[in-house]
């Protein structure tokens, strides 16, 4: 049970906070959801997460099979094992959802994200930014005399690390696509 100390009739906590979980370990899972590409399907998925209080760390969506009208939604979420199971079961219940894959438990998988990172600076900072970009294998996709836009692909951790390094060197703006993921092998 939660250690809430609740004064009679005065709590703002939801009753659901009193729910014991089967295990308290927070896990991070990457889910791939194949959906019918119809209007409102993304709203259904997002509505499920907000309505039932689940977390979304990252979400990407795009059509992957034009002929078959299929889109692929990749969701990175966190929760206890019980919550993760609930999320999968609830997703499966949505009528236009065809398949739900939990890549985290189904075996090895690749996870990639693309980021565009704008860094402004002069002199040594600018040189250092370019040198680090080279180390991270980021490409320069736009340049002025006082700024760069780097394009970087990799795991979310790698992008976090690069962004942290750029911050003291003049990080201005960052745009990230969110995670796309596929299982390894056949």
């Amino acid at each position: 049970m939660s250690p809430l100390k609740i004064k009679k009739g005065s709590s703002k906590h939801s009753a659901y906070n009193l729910r014991p979980t089967f295990s308290d370990v927070q896990e991070r899972h990457t889910l791939a959801v194949l959906v019918e590409n119809e209007p409102g399907v993304l709203a259904r998925v997002i509505g499920l997460f907000s309505g039932r209080g689940y977390n979304i760390e990252s979400l990407t969506v795009a059509e992957v099979d034009h002929k078959g009208h299929l889109s692929r939604i990749t969701i990175v979420t966190t929760g206890t094992p019980q919550v993760i199971e609930q999320i999968k079961a609830q997703l499966t219940r949505i009528v236009p959802v065809h398949e739900v894959h939990d890549l985290t438990v189904e075996g090895a998988f690749v996870e990639r994200e693309l980021a565009l990172i704008k860094v402004a600076g002069k002199g040594d900072d600018r040189v250092e930014a370019l040198r680090l970009a080279d180390v991270f294998r980021a490409h320069v996709v736009d340049s002025t005399l006082e700024s760069f836009v780097f394009q970087l692909t990799g795991t979310p951790d790698k992008i976090d690390a690069f962004a942290d390094l750029m911050r003291p060197l003049g990080l201005v703006e960052i745009a990230r696509t969110g995670v796309a993921a596929l299982s390894r092998g056949t």
């Binding site: 709590s11 409102g40 709203a43």
Partner: protein, 575 residues
């Protein structure tokens, strides 16, 4: 096209209310005789009527309302049907496609608003797809865990013509939930049944939704094993109340023996119920020593709040048939010694007689009123609806249900105002039967305008109102939790119900004396037409037994308990 699709789906009754955006469909309804349209007085009423129709027949209920306010008024009913898994197909009109998004007159984002309160919904922008979408809608509403669907049809789509797609040609292949249970899990369950010393069946609305075969198999299973059985509010009638293994309803206001059996069992077999918070009470103390099996067609119900040892995803009827066959094939074994002891223990709990009350003095006790109603109507071809509150719990406690689909109540959402329209829907489907709505005066007033509908269609629904001039359940909680400060929980300026009935052309009866009660009830039953029965009852009666919020099943309050401030601590935040 819409009307043709409905006829092909076997629809005979539509509950609805016209408006600008559905006039083309209403024009078609006017020009045919296959489908009867029931003009309601408020769209919420239409949806509850369709729910009553659906629950009492097993067929989807159909609703037709207009755009904007027509659709928003339907939202409560949709949510109610979603939580209680009632199959509905709701058709809403919409402004023409070229005006969508322009804040047109009576425009609302209906599919947006109803997305979280339907099983699925569609906005049909192309007449070519209209008939196929309606057929798919019926498929989705009925298949798997049933639920409400909504189809939003812009007015220009209604006017345009296209080729009709018959229902056989519509592909529904991608939505096909699992109905057969996993044989390995079924084997585990059979093994558990063979060994359990203190088993209990805990059944729910899923048994009724699965159809008559499921109730039949359940009865066979209970008789064959000799296991005790309890049921949720939604599942009443799947097993007959007169059956000898029947423990009565369980849960917050369930019977002592039922809750104690749940708490003390070593094998709990959940069939089509969902471990709702009204059932479980305090989760970490819920049935602490039992192995739990759970049969449900909806995978998301399993392990949602209670960890299950033997999960079986499938349709109740299919799974029960497999379980029963395997159990028979393995020699019909049960733990006889254990069971005998278990029943002895249950008989001791039964002896507590938790529903006892004393009818004394000149004021009718609500329990007495329902006991008499039960006595005078049981054995008849009878359907009971309820509103929500104390009267609902008393009806569940004091009335006995012998068959499925005979008990219509708002369980999950707890919608006051449900019962009256639901009773109209039931009576539409069963014109010759006795349909009674057990109500509280406050709930009943929430949809009382439907008295006009009952009169217009000559529906002799009986409104049995337990009038305590209080919001009884609210008042009870204020007594238990808020130091007897009765904030806004009494009904002031109540109408004269007899005159109110008469104003609509219905019959009104008032009864306040216990000695007159039987005659008054008989008068209500024998009158050929709608009756509003104003039964003046004890004002401060509490509904017991009760598991206070945040307490486990074995900490029930019985009728003689000191009730004031009984809910405290963590339980106080629970509803």
């Amino acid at each position: 096209m819409v009307v043709q699709a409905l006829i092909d789906q076997g629809v005979d009754t539509v509950f609805g209310y016209p408006g600008g955006a559905v006039l083309p469909i209403y024009d078609e309804i006017f020009q045919q005789n296959s489908i009867k349209h029931v003009l309601v007085r408020h769209e919420q009423g239409a949806v509850h009527m369709a729910e009553g129709y659906a629950r009492s027949t097993g067929k989807p209920g159909v609703v037709l309302v207009t755009s904007g306010p027509g659709a928003t008024n339907a939202v409560t009913g949709l949510t109610d049907a979603l939580l209680d898994s009632i199959p509905l197909v709701v058709l809403t009109g919409q402004v023409p496609t070229f005006m969508i998004g322009s804040d047109a007159f009576q425009e609302a984002d209906t599919v947006g608003i109803t997305r979280p309160c339907t099983k699925h919904n569609w906005l049909v922008k192309d007449t070519e797809k209209l008939s196929a979408t309606i057929h798919e809608g019926f498929h989705v509403a009925k298949t798997g865990r049933p639920g409400p669907v909504l189809i939003d049809i812009p007015k220009d789509v209604q006017f345009a013509s296209a080729e009709y797609q018959p229902m056989q040609k519509v592909s529904t292949s991608h939505y096909q939930p699992v109905i057969k249970g996993d044989p390995k899990m079924i084997e585990q369950l059979v093994e558990a049944i063979e060994n359990a010393a203190r088993p209990v069946f805990y059944t729910g609305g899923g048994v009724i939704n699965s159809g008559p075969a499921a109730s039949q198999l359940l009865r066979e299973m209970v008789e064959a094993t000799g296991f005790p059985i309890t049921s949720t509010l939604m599942g009443l009638g799947a097993y007959p109340a007169s059956g000898k293994a029947w423990l009565g309803m369980l849960g917050m206001h369930g019977l002592y023996e039922a809750n104690m059996a749940m708490h003390g069992c070593d094998l709990m077999i959940n069939i089509g119920a969902r471990f709702d918070d009204r059932i479980t009470g305090r989760l970490d103390a819920f049935s602490p020593n039992s192995k739990k099996a759970h049969i449900d067609i909806d995978p998301s119900s399993i392990n949602k709040v209670i960890k299950t040892d033997i999960p079986i995803v499938g349709d109740v009827a299919y799974v029960l048939e497999d379980v029963l066959n395997l159990w028979k094939a393995r020699g019909r074994k049960v733990n006889r010694d254990g069971l005998a002891k278990w029943w002895k223990q249950i008989e001791e709990w039964r002896a507590v007689d938790c529903l006892k009350f004393k009818q004394e003095g000149a004021v009718i006790k609500p329990q007495y009123a329902l006991q008499r109603l039960e006595e005078l109507t049981k054995g008849k071809d009878r359907y009971i609806c309820t509103e929500v509150g104390q009267h609902q719990m008393w009806a569940a406690q004091y009335m006995g249900f012998e068959d499925p689909n005979r008990w219509m109540t708002s369980g999950g959402l707890g919608t006051m105002g449900y019962g009256f329209p639901a009773s109209i829907g039931v009576q539409m489907a069963h014109p010759e039967s006795l349909v009674i709505n057990v109500a509280g005066e406050a709930s009943w007033l929430m949809n009382m305008q439907e008295l006009g509908t009952a009169m217009q269609y000559h529906l002799p629904v009986k409104q049995f109102i337990l009038n305590n001039e209080r919001l009884g359940m609210v008042r009870q909680w204020q007594q238990l939790l808020h130091g007897e400060r009765y904030s806004s929980s009494w009904s002031e300026s109540l109408p004269d119900f007899v005159k109110l009935a008469e104003a609509f052309g219905a019959k009104g009866i008032q009864c306040s004396d216990p000695a007159d009660l039987d005659d008054a009830i008989m008068e209500m039953i024998n009158y050929d037409g709608p009756v509003v029965f104003d039964c003046l009852v004890e004002k401060h009666e509490n509904c017991f037994p009760m598991i206070p919020s945040g307490e486990p099943h074995n900490k029930m309050l019985l009728g003689d308990a000191k009730a004031t401030n009984a809910i405290a601590g963590k339980g106080a935040v629970l509803v």
